[in-house]
């Protein structure tokens, strides 16, 4: 131990008493598996989002006050635009590294939400939500909702034509809430669309309210993880009573920092060379104009697709109206996300499994859960595809009506087929002994002394002889 290290440890220990806690933390064991890094990727995207987002706030003007665009982008010169749109154009064209920061921020948001969804799939398909982790499942689902809200509010801030249309649709969805829809909408938007307050309100939501909740829940998410210790896949020496893996320091720290740097590297590359949300091409928001085709960011795509697939069916209840928007944009997400939120309890009703689980399932060994999960994903995927029905129509040279009809039928048939196929594949894989956790080293063919042959199944290939796990101290 060097003098400097000794001195600083002494200084801290005598004032904060940190030594024993810090030692315990450094020696904490985390199991090693690539799929356990998905949540980390989300976390690192959040780090990038906070840094780039802070930079963006220094240039953004949350106001719909009319100004005349005087910047270097010639096609819009002299156009009357909102101060918000103007400030994003200025950031993109006149602030050095501004466009890079904006594009990294947007890409980071897309990867952030994607990492969260894939992480959620990992948790779901391996049964990591089972007791004692139901609470953390709820926290995670809460994080997903906050992320969707954070994404949508951020996407709407530039006040361009595409995002303005998105806001208009969102306004129509809140209007469709039975009984209280008009009040909720007027309080949220500050009046009839396009109320001037909405941009400044979105800004407060995007940079303060939602991020504060998001960070608080991330803290809770990680605290519970540390408290309960990580789950692990079954395998040699791994039981319900232990955690087999590498210590936080040094290996996990090195690997995590490495992953943070890689994530940042990829986001920087995307932000640099892959154009995203070119708002100057869409033009400023004008309430009577529209872009075509119009697609939102990927994580809202399913909702836009649901709106396109929905039945043209409004209801009249004693003179009151239930909008056709209610079914696809309120009822469907309500049910789907309700099932998602309550899944640990729903599953328990059927399995009657109340035991603690720290060893993960292999998806093939739980064919019903895996089937329901893939069927659910299929529902969202079909809706996501329908969100681009106009683009598919042009690409495949078929009328958009055909695309929609096919996808409407797919929505009926697709999930059922997906469930059955998944179930069958899982059962077959489970019966075959090709189990990823028990990889066979193959068969040995040997000749017996009396001239016959016999096959001997070799033991699973592990290098345990060299690396026998050592008990943590």
């Amino acid at each position: 131990m060097s003098m400097v290290m000794e001195r600083s440890l002494k200084y801290l220990d005598e004032r904060l008493g940190t030594s024993s806690l810090a030692r315990k933390t450094l020696r904490k064991v985390f199991p090693d598996h690539w799929s356990f890094l998905l949540g980390e990727i989300a976390l690192f995207c959040l780090v990038v989002l906070i840094f780039t987002g802070t930079f963006l706030t220094f240039f953004y003007t949350p106001s719909v006050r009319e100004v005349v665009y005087e910047g270097p982008y010639a096609p819009l010169k002299g156009a009357e635009v909102s101060a918000a749109y103007n400030s994003v154009l200025r950031l993109s064209f006149e602030v050095r590294a501004g466009l890079l920061m904006r594009q990294i921020h947007h890409w980071a948001a897309l990867v952030f939400s994607a990492a969260i969804v894939i992480h959620l799939c990992r948790i779901f398909f391996t049964g990591a939500f089972r007791r004692p982790r139901e609470v953390n499942w709820l926290v995670g689902v809460g994080l997903l909702f906050l992320t969707l809200g954070e994404g949508f509010t951020g996407y709407s801030l530039p006040d361009d034509l595409l995002s303005g249309i998105g806001l208009r649709i969102f306004y129509s969805v809140t209007l469709a809430i039975p009984v209280v829809g008009t009040w909720v909408t007027y309080l949220l938007f500050g009046g009839e669309f396009p109320a001037p307050d909405i941009i400044s309100r979105l800004f407060v939501f995007h940079i303060m309210l939602i991020p504060a909740l998001l960070l608080a829940l991330v803290g809770v998410h990680l605290a519970i993880l540390v408290l309960q210790k990580h789950t692990q896949f079954p395998g040699h020496g791994k039981t319900e009573r232990n955690v087999v893996g590498k210590r936080l320091w040094p290996e996990q720290t090195f690997k995590s920092v490495s992953l943070l740097l890689f994530t940042t590297a990829v986001l920087a590359l995307l932000g640099g060379i892959a154009q995203i949300n070119p708002i100057w091409q869409y033009g400023p928001f004008v309430p009577y104009s529209v872009t075509s085709p119009a697609q939102p960011d990927w994580y809202i795509g399913f909702l836009d697709g649901a709106l396109r697939l929905g039945p043209p069916l409004d209801l009249n209840l004693f003179g009151f109206t239930i909008s056709e928007v209610f079914w696809p944009a309120i009822l469907f997400p309500g049910i789907a996300f309700g099932i998602l939120t309550l899944w640990p309890w729903i599953e328990r009703r059927f399995t009657r499994d109340r035991a603690e689980h720290h060893l993960l399932d292999s998806p093939r060994d739980t064919p019903v859960r895996t089937g329901i999960g893939t069927a659910g994903l299929m529902v969202f995927f079909i809706m996501f595809l329908e969100g681009g029905n106009d683009i598919f129509g042009v690409l495949l040279n078929v009328p958009v009506e055909t695309v929609t009809r096919i996808l409407q039928w797919s929505l009926v048939i697709g999930p059922v087929v997906t469930f059955l196929v998944t179930y069958w594949v899982c059962r077959s894989l489970s019966r075959s002994r090709l189990h990823p956790a028990h990889i066979s080293a193959g068969l040995r063919l040997s000749r017996t002394p009396d001239g016959g042959y016999e096959t001997v199944s070799l033991e699973p290939a592990t290098d345990d002889s060299e690396r026998e796990p050592t008990p943590a101290s």
């Binding site: 064991v29 890079l100 829809g181 008009t182 007027y186 087999v244 090195f254 239930i322």
Partner: protein, 309 residues
Amino acid sequence: MTDSDRQGSERVDLDRQTEQGPTLTGGQRRAERRTAIALGVAILAGIGLFIVYFAGGQTQIEGILFFIAFGGFGIALGVWANHLLDAREVVEERHELTSGAAGRQALGDALTEEVGPVLGRRSVLIKLLAGAGGALGLALLLPVLSLGPAPGNSLKVTPWARGKRVVDETGELVTVDTVPEDGFLTVFPEGNVGAADAQTLLIHVRPGSLKLPPERMAGVPEGTFVAYSKICTHAGCPVGLYRAESQTLICPCHQSQFDVSDGAIPFFGPAARPLPQLPLGVDQEGVLIAQGDFSAPVGPAFWDMNRGR
């Protein structure tokens, strides 16, 4: 630690360990070289970023250089973690999460021990406490009501009114000669150009192609100038596409299609209600004027849209 290492190396004469540290295996030496190269590349990319920034900045090159800098750094730490650390696989026992019945009892005691006799009974004080909390909570919610005006009738009416002259988006008056046959135009009431809820499509259809009941034909000057709300009754997008040959209006957002000749009734897509019609007339100068507001509330459905208009 250094002391014990040195002692170890002194004891074993043949060991090549010297003050320069333990000998590396071939693999470790390669890993060390790779780490060094990766870090070197990261340094160069960092220097490159300085140059590019001060030379005026260039988004693509900056992105690529950031990628190389962060990526080089990341590779270095990754190689380091996999080959140069002396990390072992270890087993940590899980501890019991629960404190057991005794622990819970102790917590329960700690919660109740010193609160006195009042909380234990269902006393008036407890009820008043809940009442005061509830009243205060509701009162604190009141400022939320200031966030927006009461909806009132605002969603059911538009600036269109009897006698309002029709203008285009630049404010120019619209006459029967403005729009050619098969043409269409976005129009507003004079004085409300750009008003979101007043946006209207004026369509000049071919003579005799409209199939409207007589009372609605009364709002179609010359039997060819028909006007519908431009706000989609599905989710509120501007219905921006018109196919003249089939007299179809299409919403680009969710592809609802409306039959212009038949009262803008939706015949494909998610919209359930026709686009409301604006009854038009012509004044003495040939300028189109409104005969009143729309035939129904414009835009998407809401709870009380059909009550007390």
